[in-house]
Amino acid sequence: MIDLNLVIEVLIIIFKVVFVTMVLFSLPMPLTWIERKVAGHMQARLGPWRVGPHGLLQPLADTIKLLLKEDIVPENADKFLFKLAPIISMVPAFAVFVAIPVGDSFKIPFIEKTFTLYISDMNVGILYVLAIGGLSIYGIILGGWASNSKYSLLGGLRSAAQMISYEVALSFAAIGVVMMTNSLSLVDMVRAQDGGFWHWNILYLPVGPVWFAVFFIAALAEINRVPFDLPEDEGTLAAGYHTEYSGMRFSFFMLTEYVAMVTASALAVVMFFGGWNAPIDFRTIEILTPITSVSWIYSCFGLFWFTVKVSFFIYLFMWIRFTLPRYRYDQLMTVGWKILIPICLGAILVTGFMRI
């Protein structure tokens, strides 16, 4: 006899995993369009315009182009690693999303089941995110190494040095949040920021903004975006570690970068901006009680707020890309080791005293 409960639970998990994967796979398409539009308008251009209304079908055309492109593997490349690298880079970027909560749990109507808007609530969520997120770098180093090209290798090495340096600052920022919320679980972190925007970690004065600044700078460096996009500095290194890649394999790297940007935005929201919590707690407003008391409607609200906040950060990353100059390699290292880390050490002390 099959246990119906178990079947439903398994189905729910499969549904969530498939859904998240689908979303992540398709997300880069609108994101490239948005990025190019943002770039265009910031540079007094129109951006994509020809394929479809307002160039909306441009990403589709790009995808088809990438799919149809000849798959080139350089002759002297390490072929096995060359093919493996994009996958090693992509898988962790997706795996990180297991721990990221996009909304609260709710009871599914008619069947007595709880549906959680996160795949897993690990009690070490933040550690998991940092650990798995850190794995991406292997793909980049291997890609740079296996290409057997000096531009790729230099790009890969720069990337490695940069990501390792900034991982320290990023982990410190996570420690700060853990100290403020008393939990390693991302879901608990969000719950701790419940009840209006003045409870959000960003407003945990005076250290909240400091931790956020550290986190944000480190995250920019981790996802290799301007002003820290040195691994793919087109002026000096062709395209950095993915110079030799083309077609689908190249698009895997690009996919990874966009997913990483979404991850960084989601983490910023979860850690500092109250996750799915609305800026004002609508449950305290009595007129709205009939609506907010229905758990699935309230969860949808949560999803809405989460999406809005994440979108804002994605836009912020693009905004920065087109308005800031790139840092130089040595300056990047100086910022990482000589500025961010001392700030972190100071902030830990202050946070510690505040928590006593």
């Binding site: 770039a39 910031m42 540079q43 007094a44 251009r45 000096k150 230099l154 301007v226 002003p227 996009d229 040195l230 500095d233 087109e234 002026g235 000096t236 062709a238 087109f322 308005t323 800031l324 100059p325 790139r326 840092y327 130089r328 390699y329 040595d330 300056q331």
Partner: protein
Amino acid sequence: MKKDKIKEAFAGLVGADITPDNAHRGVSAINAPRELFSQCAGAFKDAGFRLVAEWALDETPLGRGFAVCAAYAHKKEYIVVKSSLPIDDAVFPTLTGKYVAAFRFERQIHSLFGITAFGHPDLRPWIKHEDWPAGAFPLRKNFNASAKMERVKGEYRWIRAEGEGVFEIAVGPVHAGIIEPGHFRFQSVGEDIINLETRFGYVHKGIEKRFEELSFEGGVKLAGRVSGDTTVAHSLAYCRAIETASGSVVPRRAHWLRAVFLELERIANHLGDIGAICNDTAFTFMHYQMAILREKILKTNYKLFGHRLTMDVVTLGGVRVDITDGGVNALLVLLDEMLKEFERLVKIYEDNPSLEDRVYSTGILAPDIAAELGVVGFVGRASGQAGDARIDCPFTPYDEFIVKAPLLRSGDVHARAWVRIEEVRESVRLIRELIGTLPSGLFQAKCLTPLEGVAGFSVVEGWRGEIIYWVQAGRDGVINRCMVRDPSSVNWLSIEQAIKGNIVPDFPLCNKSFNQSYSGHDL
């Protein structure tokens, strides 16, 4: 007054067999026996002159042999030293012991003329690549430029820094983006550059040879295409050389209009490059904003003068197009709008700390090195070399205006950008003054043909710096030799010096801040 400095230079050579050369117009010139060629250089060096150019010529159509010339300058004093060489013994003493800039000039003479600079330590081919046959010297009169040459195998010997952990990065000749081809080879330890060697010749088009097949009239168009971004300055320098050689008079209105074109070209290029420097720090905002301003100028050029880059508007004896009253107003309105927007952008440039981190103290060209190399133009003015042909040897109409040339000594990327920002402001002011005092009358007159054997010399301050043309008339109204010296010929040397000790990612930024011409150098 004018001769004093030259007299001083010759104090040590009194009694030597040096005679004045009366075949030159627009410059003082002397004939020196080739034994004294190098000694003259020493005398000029001691008197503080810089080497402007060094070139050879084949005078067989005029019934003579080969000759080698060197031009020196000290402020407004230019002098050409010419030495005749017999065809069967085409050797002259090298100037490399006196002037660093002579290195490449003499390599060029060696590869294109087969005339050897005796004592030159490095006679690898320059501009002419190693796949040419050994005996092919294109600038000799007996070389048939229309014949097809066989391609030979050869290898260029690079000067390499070697050692543990030193590795080599090759950049170019084909670059990303719309720039000309040139090869840069670095040796670096980690990210630090310890040596850079540049190599050009990829856009060698045989321009100097082509001049010799053209009439004086036809040369104007070619001169305008020596370096596409400097078309006005090059054709102006060519025209002035011919006009000086033939003693033709140009109407005053034409002089004024030529200056307007020259300043418009300066503004357009400076705007584009200030943006491009910012773009190389990934500060794309500035790039696009500056590009918009540049585009406005080009569009106005097209509307008023029929060509976006005002190509072929300068011609022998004057200019090809006149400006109407409506055109004057349109130009003034454009300048007002442009300057207002430009000042707003300069403010953003100044106030951006991340940009400051990149452009300050990057790619420093020290003033003493700049002086040693004889660097000219905005690169020189950013490294303490106060030279501007509009001030030092002003040609009409600049002799009636006071031109302000900014001078900085820090020699970094910022200095080069800032000199250009100041020059944009100054050029706008100059154009307003020029238009305000525009003389009425003809804008073109007939240009005479120079007499056989007469050489005209002209100096024009293009946006990159001092452009020199030396045009010698041959028999039957043809050009016997046209020597073109774009500022790039000397300034390219300086980037190798400026880049040392910088890191690889700063190279594009440094290179963009110099932005020398490949085409004007390769010819």
